[in-house]
Amino acid sequence: MSDGLSSRRGFLASSAVLAGTALAGCSGGTASSSDTVTLGILEDRSGNFALVGDPKHKASLLAIEEINADGGIMGNEIEVFDPDPQSDNQRYQELTDRAIRQENVDALWAGYSSATREAIRPIINRNEQLYFYTTQYEGGVCDKTTFAVGPTARQQLGTVLPYLREEFGPDIYTIAADYNFGQLSADWVKVLANENDANVLGEEFIPLSETDFSSTINNIQEADPDFVMSMLVGANHTSFYEQKASAGLDIPIGTSTAMAQGYEHRRISPPAMANIYAGVNYMEEVPTESNTNDGGFVDRYFDMYPDAPYLNEEAETNYFSMYMYKEAVEQAGTFEQPEVIEALESGISLGTERAPEAPEGQTIELDGATHHVDHHMWVMKADEDHNIEAVENRKVPETFLSETVGCDLREEAEQTQYTPVDYYQEAK
């Protein structure tokens, strides 16, 4: 239709574009005024990872509220930029970019999955943004501005595997989610088996979308191990525990992922999670005084969020890392990120008050060289009624980067992720 009528339409088109661009430009950022500091908290509150991401968000906000009630950081009140990335890595990239360049956050907490971390790390690195990654992960990230303060696979598996080997015997069967975290964790199982005089009879990798574990259960029965190491991830994989119980498969299972993050022991009927041993730095049931006492961490969390279903592993990491940040800023005397990073690299330790994973009188340390944390680890066992009992606990330092790889970010700024296959024959 080539007539003058289209001119009206043409102008409609151009004004739409105009309005669009003007609006896009007008979504202004909050400029931090001189007595506030803006922190970015990007955690999933919808989408696939909402179940595990929501407690992280809540715990960060709890820490911030406590700090603000106490006068803030160096007298500055903390303000939060906390949009919902919707478990979408694309969103994470956009929002991270915005957090850094528009909202000018002084520090950033972002992401549940390793994939998210890797998606935003280029943006983080480009802008040399101080970044706390708080989820348990496969380990190995040696990055100048990234502080991966959650427990690593080596720390978690390295706590529970030796215990189970002692208790039950040397034969292991590994089942893991079929992606980086699962595969690298399985590599660590092989390394740890070697170090603990155990054998891995077989490994099985299951796609994240799979909900039918009948063949896996049959494979376990055929291999007949002494115990199983499970690094299954996500809501779909939860069905494994149901199905194994229903099939009468009664074998002890060591895990770094079940119960502590997605509270399966609360959601699935007993006795599906019986004889599951979680190797974690924290779970809601961790029996330290600062955690379970009246007015302790659990109480404070549920006071603020009475409808929350569970206080999970990563939430505690979000919580204590906020306090680590506060200490580092106070030590550095400024919010400028390079100075704060330097303060963090001098090594920060937190007592049980701020890090409820540590028992009375004990501490956890941020290792300045590797930007990882020497955690206090627990082996938490679920019984037939899904009551959780702590059967072992000890301090487990981070060793892969500090001892095996020799990553020292105080000497040399890097932005790499190291994997066990490059350092251990048995991981191949």
Binding site: S46, G47, N48, A50, L51, D54, D178, E204, F205, I206, P207, S209, E210, T211, D212, S214, S215, T216, I217, N218, Q221, E222, D224, A235, N236, T238, S239, E242, Q243, A245, S246, A247, G248, L249, G262, R266, R267, I268, S269, P270, A272, D307, P309
Partner: protein, 293 residues
């Protein structure tokens, strides 16, 4: 190592899963040309209805009935408001129902939170040698067959069924003969949704009950419906049979990942080389045999 008995149970499991995932979608698509991408969410509603009633104290079978009814009710509302404008517009119905599904998932998340306490799997295990298999999941494959049989009986032997098929085949003539075609379409859609709800109810004890759970069913349902072809019931059965075999066989040999990919590749090959679907092939063969006799 392909252990025959294992393979058999795994096949039954896969077969049952595919049939139950697909049957609701197949009826709606086959009968009305509507592609209901909110199918997964209707399954989710069935699961939620079941789990919520069970947690409130209802016995399992009653809770499942509640699940089915919830999904059917949701289906009724959806049909009256949205779907009836989209008949014979398969592509538009895809987009509209996908959008609806998105909104539904999030609404459920907002109202009920990120997960519900689950129902345990009843009935224990079947033991054979060193292996065992969940009795309940094996039973589901039987239920799947019963559902197929039931649908067959309803659509071929009952008054309602015959009228429904008449409407689908030629709705002008049907209307001329006094059939209320609007009611027929609504009823068929509701039945499809009720079946989806049944799937959700049946699988609720076996899976994590989360708002996004529908997506685990959607791909298999879709693929089965389309490879099944024009005849709804025959197609679904054949598709579940072929795809289930591919899945079970390759999983047994090479692991779950290969099993899934193999199943999808088989589906693509069927779509490419058998344009009328599996049931189309059967019809053709049957036609040829009749001609020869």
């Amino acid at each position: 190592m392909v252990n025959g008995v294992n393979l058999f149970f795994q096949f039954l499991d896969s077969f049952g899963f595919i049939v139950l995932s697909a049957i609701g979608l197949a009826i709606i698509f086959g009968m009305m040309g509507v592609i209901n991408l909110a199918h997964g969410e209707l399954i989710m509603i069935g699961a939620y209805g079941t789990t919520l009633s069970f947690n409130a104290g209802a016995p399992l079978l009653l809770a499942m009935a509640v699940g089915v009814i919830s999904a059917a009710a949701a289906g009724l509302v959806i049909e009256r408001t949205i779907v009836k404008r989209l008949y014979q517009r398969p592509l538009d119905s895809m987009v509209a129902t996908w959008a609806l599904g998105l909104a539904m998932t999030q609404m459920v998340r907002i109202i009920f939170g990120n997960s519900l306490s689950g129902i345990g799997l009843p009935l224990g295990a079947i033991q054979y040698g060193q292996f065992s298999y969940s009795m309940y999941r094996t039973l589901l494959s039987v239920v799947a067959l019963v559902v197929l049989l039931g649908a067959y009986v309803v659509f071929t032997r009952t008054e309602f069924g015959i009228r429904a098929r008449a409407t689908i085949q030629d709705d002008d003539t049907a209307r001329a003969m006094g059939i209320d075609t609007d009611r027929m379409y609504t009823a068929t859609f509701v039945i499809g949704c009720a079946l989806a709800g049944l799937t959700g109810a049946l699988y609720a004890p076996a899976l994590a009950v989360v708002p996004g759970m529908g997506s685990s069913f959607l791909v298999e349902a879709f693929v089965a419906v389309v490879t099944g072809g024009t005849s709804v019931l025959l197609g679904t059965t054949l598709a579940a049979g072929v795809l289930g075999t591919a899945n079970a066989f390759f999983t047994n040999l090479y692991g779950t990942f290969i099993g899934q990919v193999a199943m999808l590749i088989v589906a693509i090959l069927i779509l490419r080389f058998l344009p009328t679907g599996l049931s189309g092939v059967v019809e053709t063969v049957r036609g040829q045999m009749e001609r020869e006799s």
